[in-house]
Amino acid sequence: METSDETLVELATQGNGEAFGDLLRRHYDSIYRIAFRVMGSREDAEDLAQEVCASLPKKLKSFAGRAKFTTWLHQITINASRDLIRRKQAARRKADGWGEVEILRRDEAAQTQAELDWLTTAMNAMSDDLRETVALVLGEEMTHAEAGEILGISEGTVSWRMSEVKKTLRDMARKEEMLK
């Protein structure tokens, strides 16, 4: 039987480094994925994931255990990504991430350049809020309620945002149609 997150957290807060390591290994990938989808760049996502991991030992003590650990962890990830975006904006490096197509180029056969371009345009057309929501709901396949909890908004607001996303995508499709 796999040890639960909550048990690992409890052990980690008592100073058990191994438990802490297990916890991170278990969740590193989802931290990275969310970060990538919000930031749109691999470098940023890796930096962000590292930052989140490094900040966890201190933060762990404030984790009262009342929320689900993953919810709490994803809140931290989202918050960290917001900070990073703000720092980058302050440094006028907005062109990074989803702003730049080249960063995303991959040679995986699964993805055509057209799809990549479409994705980049779509992610760019969205505000930060919508991107975060998409990263959680579509990227991590969370329910609207779970995503709402992490983002600190109501379930209804998440649903509303997702309908905005749909609207954005439809607008894109319409514009594409007009260009043809």
């Binding site: 040890t3 990538f36 991991c53 009262a64 009342r66 929320a67 918050n79 990227g139 749909k166």
Partner: protein
Amino acid sequence: MSDELDKLKQAMQNATPPPSDDARDRALRVAAEEFEKTFQGSPETVRPTSQNAPSGGFMRGAVSMFRRLTTREALLTTASVATVVVAVVVTQDFNSLPEDNHGKIIVGEFADTKVGATLQSPQTSTIRQDATSQIVINETAPAAQPLDDGFATGAATSIAGNEVVQQQAPVLDALDVTDQASSSPNTPLVDGRLRTESDGDDEIGVLSFVAPAAPIVMSEESEAVTTERRANVTAPTTSQGIVADMAATAEITIIQPAEPVPAIEANTELFPEADINPLKVASEEPVSTFSIDVDTASYGIVRSSLMNGQLPPRDAVRTEELINYFPYDYPLPAEGEAPFSTSVTVMDTPWNADTKLLHIGIQGFDIAVEDRPPVNLVFLIDTSGSMNDANKLPLLINSFRLMLANLQPEDQVAIVTYAGSAGMALEPTPASDSAKILASLQNLSAGGSTAGQAGLQQAYALAEQMADDGDISRVILATDGDFNVGISDPEKLQSFVEDKRDSGVYLSVLGFGRGNYNDTIMQTLAQNGNGTAAYIDTLAEAQKVLVDQIGGALFTIAQDVKIQIEFNPAEIAEYRLIGYETRALNREDFNNDAVDAGEIGAGHSVTAIYEITPVGSPAVSVDDLRYTQTDAQPASSENGEYAFLKLRYKNPGEDRSILLTTPVFADSDAGLQSEANFAAAVAGFAQLLRDDDRIRGWDIADAQALAQQNMGADPFGYRAELITLMRLADSLK
């Protein structure tokens, strides 16, 4: 999920490169070092398993650590509950009484909290009309940082500490109904956000109340309430356009003490708007589709208006509900066939010699009270301040007492009340224990605002809980419909009850009172929640709905009943459906079993009337087109057929519909001339009340004469009452 979202999801997954092992190792190493520093000198423990996990000590550490935290997350988490304190001073001005009391307040700065508003406004608080309206927002929140990062709040919401929230409990209630519902002990609908209960400073997570139309309730003084007003607060657009949009309307209800204010009741009634069904050209649009409707609420509203010496608002008159208010002497269905009979009659139009009426009468089978299966009833009773009228809560209590006497001992009754919050007033109790139920009914009293959606949630939850072994459960909502806390947008309520519809719980909506009656919401609920709506204005009406026709009210015999008629353009030039404007369906909806439609209860009769213009009649009003051949030939050789009637229904609880068909001929006659003529008289009367110009040349006196010739047995005097109403309306016109 929609195609677009699927595509986005797929593209996103494809685009995400797997994390590099290097990066992962580096992160884990850094974290481990950080961990060592933080937990220096900690004892070694054995590798954890779920069996040997030690416990204790964690909370203490967490709490003390939390106090020392100064990170941004911590600040946000302490400020995890947002609230707004709004103080409104209304300067009375009795000189004007505007009709519209929905105003707008533009808020300038809103990263702040406490709203102190000075509204100089007339009696009805119409902010729009007063140039001096002003709303001031101050900061009270301990949150040190402006919330500009998407945890953003709306105009009327912002962050405050828990201390504030504790003092402002009613405000918290009002702000987030979901939380309120989930914190209620009787509600299993917990959505995981119980943490908003104000229970300490060690909360994790951030909640903001960026809900569309977040309502705020202010209560000055006590429960002494006579008038309620509303205003809309509009947020300015910010860089976070989304957030601003979402917060665009916050509803403020100002509840005032009764005493110093002369009670001039602002009329805030809302009725669904629907244009009268237009005339259709059979060759262009031969198919007409609609859902049946057995609601009778509109008749009650019309009656209450006329009895008060006023003509009813146009949109309050729904022709089909007036027609269907009356029981008709249609033949009962034959044993072992469809649960209802269908009779078709073609007859002359009373108000136009050149057209015909196609009358469709549907009669559901009746079931003796003692034969019907036991039901679980949840009375959901609105006990908000606005219900505190003689013709509301007291009438409601008496109505339910009437009904109680007609329940079977094995029926179960529970009562949920809602005002500012929802609560269970009576646990599920067998109907045989009438003393207990009566006592609980007598104890109801009105006060506070109206968290209708929270009440609905709880009532549905309770109904689902009561329904074991396939029992029928029904929520009976009694309200004036003036939902002002939580979801009050008809569209949102609609999707809420639509979700609940699938749980098999039926809904009956009983409307009470006038002045702030929200017919739109009542219709929305009844039409989308597998339910019916009736309007109770007198105890006699309660007797009709809850006693005489209790079978219909409690026992559904067919659901999602849809009617589709295809007219034969070779015979029929034009047609129009009289009434059913709010019940129109798309042509393709007819065969789509997922599309909801009306229910028929035991003993209900439903009538639909088309006015049809045969080809060649002088009444044909639309000329043929010059360039398009509209002279359609019928596809089949069924000449002489006027139309083809199709009906779909589902047996209660089933997913698949059953199709019934009947051809209509020029001489179709079910032998119901008198009943059909009475229905035509009601239809004519309703159209006259709506000022429908298709019935010019006829007046209320004509309708009255026609009705009087076709009174039938009328054992309960319903038709006689209509004559009285017609005479009143004639004098008032």
